[in-house]
Each structure stands twice: as structure tokens, then as C-alpha cells.
């Protein structure tokens, strides 16, 4: 019995050493792939939710996502709809867009902003509520300092419009 236990003990030690040696060459990449195949997705309140509509414009696309944000009993923060403007050719100097956020056929908001050519330039959007009820009554979207958000991301512009 003690020989068997001893065998297991040394076997475990060899196994540990084997894992350590194989880790950087085989194991870690395999485990990474495995985790990638688990079907995990980032919570929509971070990722902005999945795209539900893509609108083609002249030189760019507008992507509207599904409503996202906190839903659980202790989650807090505003629910929002993320809208992004991505250049196909180039974004215009000014974007003035009426947005149908819920796909009902009528626009709920109108958003206007100047597209900064210098990333360090501040980005501010004027929000006009066309159909109250869905969207929180705010008028400005900017990078910080409010429930709404308007940021430049790579070459795109992303807005998060807070909902009621």
C-alpha cells in the first residue's frame, strides 16, 4: 500500500512537471481555444448589444443595436441603445440623423454632431427627442458627464442613447 501511495506521489510530481513544461508550447494555446469555444459573450452593457439594423448611407453605415444595459435586480445604470457610424469611404464632416431606434417606422430622436478630424478634439452631440416615451429626455451626448455617451472609436463614432 505504501509503495502504491509512493508511486502516486511521484507520479503526481512528474505530472506537475509535465504540465509546466508543456504549458507554453501546447497547453495554454489549447486551453485558450477551448475557452473561446465556450460560447461566452460580453455582457451587452459593456459590448453595446448585438446589431439589429444596418442602414447604408453615402460613404458610411449606421448600425443600430438592440436595447442593452442593466436588467438584474442589483444591476444599476441606464439602459441604452447603441448606434454607431462606421466609414465605408469616409464619414461626412457633420452627421445629422433621425433615428428609428425601435424599428417601428418612426424616428424617436434626431442626433447632430460634427465629426472631429483630430482625435483629441472633443465630440459633442445635440439630441432632439422626436417621440418621447422611449428615450430619456436629455439634449447633449458627450464623452463623459451624463447618462448618454458619444465617443470616437477607431475610425467610427459610437453613441449610447439612454432609455427611459
Amino acid at each position: 500500500m505504501s509503495k502504491l501511495k509512493s508511486l502516486f506521489g511521484y507520479g503526481a510530481a512528474v505530472l506537475v512537471l509535465t504540465v509546466m513544461v508543456l504549458a507554453p508550447f501546447v497547453l495554454m494555446s489549447r486551453i485558450e481555444q477551448l475557452v473561446g469555444h465556450l460560447g461566452l459573450r460580453s455582457h451587452p452593457k459593456y459590448s453595446g448589444g448585438s446589431a439589429v439594423r444596418v442602414l447604408n448611407r453615402d460613404g458610411y453605415q449606421v448600425t443600430i443595436a438592440a436595447p442593452a444595459g442593466p436588467v438584474g435586480p442589483m444591476e444599476w445604470g441606464p439602459r441604452f441603445i447603441q448606434v454607431s457610424w462606421s466609414p465605408v469611404g469616409a464619414l461626412p464632416d457633420t452627421v445629422d440623423e433621425q433615428l428609428d431606434l425601435d424599428g417601428g417606422g418612426r424616428p424617436q430622436v434626431r442626433l447632430r454632431f460634427r465629426v472631429p478630424r483630430d482625435p483629441k478634439q472633443p465630440l459633442t452631440g445635440q439630441l432632439e427627442i422626436l417621440d418621447p416615451g422611449l428615450v430619456r429626455p436629455i439634449t447633449i451626448l458627450r464623452r463623459t458627464g451624463g447618462p448618454g455617451l458619444l465617443v470616437g472609436l477607431d475610425h467610427s463614432i459610437v453613441a449610447r442613447i439612454p432609455l427611459n
Partner: protein
């Protein structure tokens, strides 16, 4: 809009269904507090059932008071607006106080090694009263399902029906709380009780922080 008596059966089944569908959310939010509280009390099965009953009683009281208010008003204020932030902030700070006091009682009554004083008199009353108060405060948690129930109760047609709606809603949610009785099984494992009491202390700090943040948001809202 009021609901006609001929639609009363669907209304109560609606309340029960809504309650049961929302119960997992209630378990998540209440379980955070109840799990360490009950574990730290170190009661057996029957004792834990009694404690859970006290907590649920406090929670029911909170639901009924809210139901009465909603039924009388006939509408629901913007619960996510400034009023909601204020209620949330104050109740979170109150919860923080309760948790902190319970943690302090549990930790001061022993060092390492002896079971918590079962205690009669003031200590026992404080413990049970605190649990009832905790139930009341968590019953006023303005989460999505609660708000949905409030909106429906406001349309029920008067305060009596609104209270009854909330009572049935409460029943539906409370089914999910029953597994918490299992904490009675860990009574003999003392380190777990110690961890539970320390957890209450950490949670008290979190709720103090959470309440402060809500009140800051309320103040910023203006």
C-alpha cells in the same frame, strides 16, 4: 384604468405568474444578504425556517405598504428618477447599518471556538427585529420586476385590490426563497459561521458605498 371584477381571476393568476417569474431576481438580491445572515445565526432546520419566516414577514409588510400607496395613488411615480434614487439610497444605507450591527453582534459575542450566544432578552429581540427590518427594506427594492408589479397593481382598481395583487405577487416570489432553509444544515461548521459574519461586515460596507453613490446621483440629478 381599472380592472372589472369579471377579470379578477386572471389578475391574481397574473400576479402569481409575475411573482414566480421574477423570483429568481428576488433570490439573487435577497440571497446576497440572507445567505450570510442565516448562516451566521447557526440555527438548525426549524430555527432557520422560523428566521426565514420572520424575514419574509418583513418583506411582505414592505410589499403591502407599497401596494397600498400605489393603490391609493392610482399610478406609479418615476421610480427610476430622483425619487427612486432617494429611496434606494436611504434604504441601502439603512441596510448597511443593519448588516453592520448584526456583524458586530456576531463577532463580539465570540472569538474563535465557541458557538454564538443563542441569547434571550434584548439580544434575541434585536436579532429577530433586525431580520424583520431587513425583510422590509429589501421588500422595497425597486428592481424591474417590482416596478412591473407596481405598474400592474396601480391598474388593479383601488387600494384593496392593489394590496391583494402585491400579496399574491409576494407569494410567487417567496417560493424561490425556500431553498435558503438549507443553511440550517451548516449549523455545526463554525468557520462557516465566522465567514458569514465577516461577510455581513463587508456587505455592510458595500451597501454604505452603494447608498452613498445613489444619493450622490440623486444630488447630481438635482
Amino acid at each position: 384604468m381599472t380592472v372589472s371584477p369579471s377579470a379578477s381571476v386572471p389578475l391574481w393568476s397574473e400576479a402569481l405568474t409575475l411573482g414566480f417569474a421574477s423570483g429568481s431576481a428576488c433570490l439573487a438580491s435577497c440571497g446576497v444578504l440572507l445567505l450570510p445572515w442565516l448562516t451566521g445565526m447557526r440555527r438548525g432546520w426549524r430555527g432557520t425556517c422560523g428566521l426565514l419566516g420572520i424575514f419574509l414577514g418583513g418583506r411582505l409588510a414592505g410589499y403591502l405598504v407599497f401596494g397600498l400607496g400605489v393603490g391609493l395613488a392610482g399610478r406609479v411615480a418615476n421610480l427610476k428618477g430622483p425619487a427612486g434614487l432617494l429611496v434606494g439610497g436611504v434604504s441601502s444605507l439603512a441596510v448597511a447599518g443593519l448588516l453592520g450591527f448584526q456583524a458586530w453582534r456576531g463577532l463580539k459575542s465570540r472569538g474563535v471556538g465557541c458557538p454564538v450566544a443563542r441569547g434571550g432578552g434584548l439580544e434575541r429581540r434585536y436579532g429577530l427585529g433586525g431580520l424583520a427590518m431587513l425583510g422590509l427594506l429589501t421588500g422595497l427594492n425597486l428592481c424591474g420586476p417590482f416596478v412591473a408589479a407596481a405598474l400592474r397593481a396601480a391598474q388593479a382598481g383601488g387600494p384593496v385590490r392593489a394590496i391583494a395583487f402585491f400579496a399574491v405577487f409576494f407569494l410567487g416570489t417567496s417560493i424561490w426563497m425556500l431553498p435558503l432553509v438549507l443553511t440550517g444544515a451548516w449549523r455545526r461548521w463554525e468557520p462557516l459561521a465566522l465567514v458569514a459574519r465577516l461577510t455581513l461586515a463587508v456587505l455592510a460596507l458595500y451597501y454604505a458605498y452603494f447608498g452613498t453613490v445613489l444619493l450622490l446621483a440623486r444630488w447630481h440629478h438635482g
